[in-house]
Symmetry: C2
């Protein structure tokens, strides 16, 4: 059990459980790494969350999420940056391996995706000094292109790495979530490039269901979809990243309706059998 | 009216109208170019469809669709190729500018997207001699990555152009549909590359709605979404393609419920105001 190289992203357990109950569900099945969301931390309180993490000797593979930089006004963009600075402090308090960024999409009624991408770059640049001072690595999570309008206009690993190169801070890297990148014709070379740059900060897993009935909330349990999880794992390990695979499943009509016990047990079983 | 550089993809008019009624709706609003689907042609009969096209002096900007190459068995793949040969003949009979390919996704329960992509390349290679003999250009349509599993594992313009390069046939090009490619961080360079290669064979338009409630059937009317249609049009025209913009909108719960007259009228209005 101690060697289980798996982390439970707590978004997988959005069934109404408390923070403490989620941790109990994880520990019962040998999962000693977690990745909470900020609202989940806020619900129990940052201090209490940090106490639970420390008491149980949990690894926090990431805090979800910072980002959401674009806004129609300069004041709006600054407010978003300020919120990211708070997120850095929360990640530091939890001892998280990184703060994960979902960078945001088009602001307001804008159709200017290049402009939104520039806002993202500028927003990240503005938060990096505080991240370095706090010792919190920042992980850009490229999101699937179907989220380009409303959640993240960074949509490939290479695009995220280009931002890393442009900003020139080794504390900035990428979170590779198989759901978002499995389709990329350049996936193998992009992961190798990320490894060469030593910028793989996290590895998220779930599965792509066929059919997918909702753009956001119909992600699948590993093994129930079409993603070659072992193939991508081999790419990521060959690129030098051997950290936990973090299970993150948004599943409103299926896994979010089940008990945390059943969900974590299934995650561990599937991790051992298909990942 | 004669200068209206717009084509109506007849998938936009899936409201139960007959082929002849759809053509009447197009002509009433000055649209003298169409792109029918094979099932729509079959419903009226190929000869009758060709007669209607000729009688009305219609331009056929494309026949939708060939493709769907991957299959689990060699016999299945050959059957798919045979069907593409028939599609070429139908495109020739209609005098279509090109046969559009939706190349297909993962066969059966496969998780091998690289393998599926090889099947696509091999399938296209097998149909090219007949296409050249028939004088029918073949246009690979890269589909949005959200269709990689079940409809098309060619997901970017660059990926389609790489197939064109590999197969080395100038009769093979790409259909650029804004819905599928608008998010691509490399869009400008990919369109320029396609232009340099003289491989832009079609330009499809619609819009990306926020929110999008269905992965396949919730596409938007131009102007109702977030795509910078004029910006992409400028890229495509700068790349040397000045053919009709072809309106293709899958919209089960909205536009498919309206009369063809209203749909075509709206397409023309929006074409003139936002495209």
């Amino acid at each position: 059990m101690a060697d289980l190289n798996l982390s439970m992203n707590l978004a997988t357990l959005r069934n109404g459980s408390s923070f403490g109950e989620m941790i109990d569900d994880c520990l019962r099945h040998g999962a000693t790494a977690i990745a909470p969301w900020r609202d989940q931390v806020a619900a129990v309180g940052l201090k209490e969350a940090a106490r639970i993490v420390e008491t149980n000797n949990l690894r926090v593979t990431g805090l979800c999420r910072g980002g959401m930089f674009p806004a129609e006004t300069a004041a709006g963009r600054q407010a978003n940056i300020d919120d990211n600075l708070k997120a850095i402090d929360e990640a530091a308090a939890l001892g998280a391996d990184c703060l994960v960024l979902v960078v945001g999409g088009l602001p307001g009624s804008s159709k200017d995706i290049a402009g939104a991408r520039a806002m993202v770059r500028d927003g990240i640049a503005a938060m990096l000094p505080h991240a370095k001072a706090a010792g919190v690595p920042i992980a850009i999570e490229p999101l699937h292109p179907m989220y380009a309008a409303d959640r993240a206009c960074v949509n490939t690993i290479d695009q995220a790495l280009d931002i890393c190169v442009e900003l020139g801070d080794e504390n900035l890297g990428v979170a590779v979530d198989v759901y978002h990148v499995w389709w990329d014709p350049n996936l193998a070379s992009a992961i190798a490039r990320a490894g060469d740059m030593k910028r793989i900060f996290a590895h998220h897993i779930c599965d792509w269901l066929v059919p997918t009935t909702d753009l956001l909330l119909d992600r699948g349990m590993m093994g129930d979809g079409v993603i070659d999880l072992r193939g991508i794992r081999r790419m990521i390990e060959a690129a030098g990243y051997n950290g936990p695979q973090e299970v993150e499943i948004f599943s409103r009509d299926n896994w979010w309706k089940k008990s945390g016990d059943e969900v974590v047990r299934t995650c561990v079983e599937r991790f051992n059998s298909v990942c």
